[in-house]
Every structure is written in structure tokens, then in C-alpha cells.
Amino acid sequence: MTAASKPGDVLVTTAWVDEHRHDPNLRIVESDEDVLLYDVGHIEGAVKIDWHTDLQDSVVRDYIGRRAFEELCNSKGIANDTTVVFYGDKSNWWACYAFWVFKLYGHANCLVMDGGRKRWELDGRPWAKGPEPPYPPTKYQAKEPDLSIRAFRDEVLEHQAAQKPLIDVRSPGEFTGQMLHMPDYPQEGALRGGHIPGAVNIPWSRAVRDDGTFKSPQELEQLYCGEARLRRDSETIVAYCRIGERSSHTWFALKYLLSFDHVKNYDGSWTEWGNLVGVPIAKGP
């Protein structure tokens, strides 16, 4: 796919980012699973937004509020009309998560650099070291959270009861409920294993190639519409995983690469569902 070749394309290549990284209205954002990775090396000019320490509230289990999101954008030099390009480690897993939070607060122009850190490295492009570059502060105005992309517990209970489509993007072991916690090791996830009844299991990583880039639209179509039997005309599709991060990657693939209009990420995910009293759970494949 050529980078941003037509309106609506949100996937750009490393070459496109390399070429445009000095554009004044562009801000490159690195979001990694590993909080120290930006310091090992990053794209010159990129800022760092951490999914955990920046995007999540430190007390309540929730994302940062609207005001805190505005302050975050102000501090990173991101204005309402800035085009933000996300990239990161692990096939852009966390980049998609940050992308989702930006969409939650209504940021218009968001792109993802296909392949993330891995593709940049494989292409032999340079890494910059040193601290985060400062940018002039902005006066960001966030919108009210867009709840058309976020599902909450009670909504998912109704969704499940109505036998509407659910996609579980965890590993098969987590889906079947066979994953056992290690001896001497605290079980930090959920009190029950298994999945939400009716969910199909397509591990998130099946959407990407070895080099971290997304598979072709045809391959993704086969995976999600063929194998998982998801339909674009569904009223709503709910994606979930353990804490809502892997499912934001699948949410991105469905919504932006396959043009599904009605996909929600259930960020409570298994760490909420698997701890709720009395909710239905299925085990096995």
C-alpha cells in the first residue's frame, strides 16, 4: 500500500515518515510496551507517550480525563490540527492503543507508521538518542469521549445476551481457559479463565507479518470476514483481550484497514469479565 495515497488511508510507510518528519504540522509519537525503549533510540523529533504512565489514570482504572488529555497534548506540542503519526514496538500494538485513545478524544488526523520500530530498523533508518525534544506548548481542546468506539461492562453483558458478534484477540490458551499461572507466581489477571460465550478467537498478531507490518487487505478480509465470519453490516462488533490493548490493534485493523464502521473496544476486557460475579463464561475452543 502506498503511504496515504488516498483520503482515509491511515497507514503510512517508514519511507513516508522519513520524508515528512520535518513537516511543521506533523508530530511523531512513539508508544511502546517497554517504557525504556524510547531511550534506547527513537525517530528523530519523535515524542514519547506511554500507554501506562501517560494515558491511564494513576488512581481510578480508566483513561486520563479530558483535561489531562489536553495537558498531555499541550506538553507534546500537539494542536487540534496536528497530524499525529504513531509507531512503536511489538507490531505497533501500543501505537494502536495510543491511536485509539486519541480517537476517543476526537483527534482528527491520526496515522500509524506500518511496521513500527521493527520495520524502521529493518530498513536501516537512523535512531536518535537523547532526551525528548521540546516543542512550543499548544492549547489543545479535546472533545467529549467518543463512546462509539468504547464498550463498557453492562453494554457487553447485553451484547452477549443478544448473541451479537464478539472477537477475543488473546492467545488460544487464554481463550480456552487452559492458561495456568506459574508456581510461586502471583496470579494478577482474573479469578476465572475462559472467554465470553459466543466470542470468536483470532489472536491479534495474526493481522501482522513477521516484519511487523499489517497483512494485505485481502488477507485481512479472509481472516476476519472469512475465518471469523464478521460482517460489516453488524450493528456493533465488540473486541476484547486482557486489558484492552491487544484488542485496540484488532479494532484498528477492522475499522481502518477493512472499513468496518461499528467496532468497539471493550477495554475492561478479561481482567474485568473474568472477575465479575455471576457473568456467563465459556471454556474450551
Binding site: E33, D34, V35, L36, D39, D89, K90, D184, Y185, E188
Partner: protein, 156 residues
């Protein structure tokens, strides 16, 4: 390359851990991250005899820490009554790599009893949850408990 044969008799493990806990405890969050990054930049020597293990699928699975997002491979040995830890961790996983290097620094050459006497909540005492985020502790706990469990088994 000959296997690394550490011969650290002094300072003892308790003292070394106490120093690390002091250093990390006095640092602010940013400094603590930098200290872990310094550990992550260290070489992790992997003896020739273990490289085949690393490259063979079955052995890879046995030595891999599944809870870590980044591939982390650990070999824990007790030779002549002294603990040796070897590891293979990608530079793309500096958090796990730094923590593994810290454990190698603290435990290499120790007796099994010394390793087992180390605090079970070492990760908390180093104040890593505040520096890295609570949600990132899962992999580090798995590494720490794997090391201690294997040392315990080998000492029997």
C-alpha cells in the same frame, strides 16, 4: 570464549542487594529508569555450550519466560556450590534486559542459600513499580521467581 567463572566472595549478596535497594530507593523515577537502562546496556554473556540451547526450538521453550512480552531466555546453574545465571534478552526489551542484568550482577557467585534468602519482594524494594508502572511488573516477577525457584531446585 571460556565460560565466565565469577569469584566474588565479597561483598556478600545481602550487602550488594542492600546497596542496590538504597541506590534505587534514593533515586527519583527518571533516575531509576536510567539506572535500569544502564544495566540493560551491559553485555549478557552466553557461553558457547548454551547457544545451541537457545537456537533449538524445544530448549527455547523450556528456557523462555512466557510472561515477558519480549523474548527472555534464562539459564540458571549451580556449579561448585555457586550460582551462575546466563540470559539472552533482546536490546528491544530494555526493561527485562536491565532487570536480568541486575540479578546477574547481584547473584552471580552467590551460594543458593544466599539467593533464597534475598527478599521475596525485591522488585517492590527496588521501587520498580513506581518507575515502570504496575502493569509492567508481571514479566519481572516471572523472571525473579523463575531464578529463585530454579536455584532452590538445583540446591536440593
Amino acid at each position: 570464549m571460556p565460560d565466565r567463572m565469577p569469584d566474588r566472595d565479597a561483598p556478600g549478596v545481602q550487602q550488594r542487594l542492600a546497596e542496590l535497594i538504597d541506590d534505587f530507593g534514593e533515586a527519583d523515577v527518571r533516575e531509576r529508569q536510567q539506572m535500569l537502562l544502564d544495566f540493560a546496556r551491559r553485555e549478557l554473556p552466553l557461553p558457547e555450550r548454551l547457544r545451541a540451547d537457545r537456537d533449538a526450538a524445544a530448549d527455547r521453550a523450556e528456557h523462555r519466560i512466557d510472561e515477558c512480552m519480549t523474548p527472555v531466555f534464562l539459564w540458571v546453574e549451580v556449579n561448585d556450590g555457586r550460582v551462575e545465571i546466563y540470559a539472552d534478552v533482546s536490546p528491544e526489551g530494555p526493561t527485562a534486559r536491565g532487570f536480568v542484568a541486575l540479578l546477574i550482577d547481584a547473584f552471580t557467585g552467590a551460594t543458593p542459600a544466599e539467593v533464597l534468602a534475598a527478599p521475596a519482594d525485591l522488585i517492590q524494594q527496588l521501587r520498580l513499580p513506581e518507575a515502570l508502572g504496575m502493569n509492567r511488573m508481571r514479566g519481572l516477577h516471572a523472571i525473579y521467581h523463575r531464578v529463585r525457584r530454579q536455584v532452590g531446585e538445583l540446591a536440593r
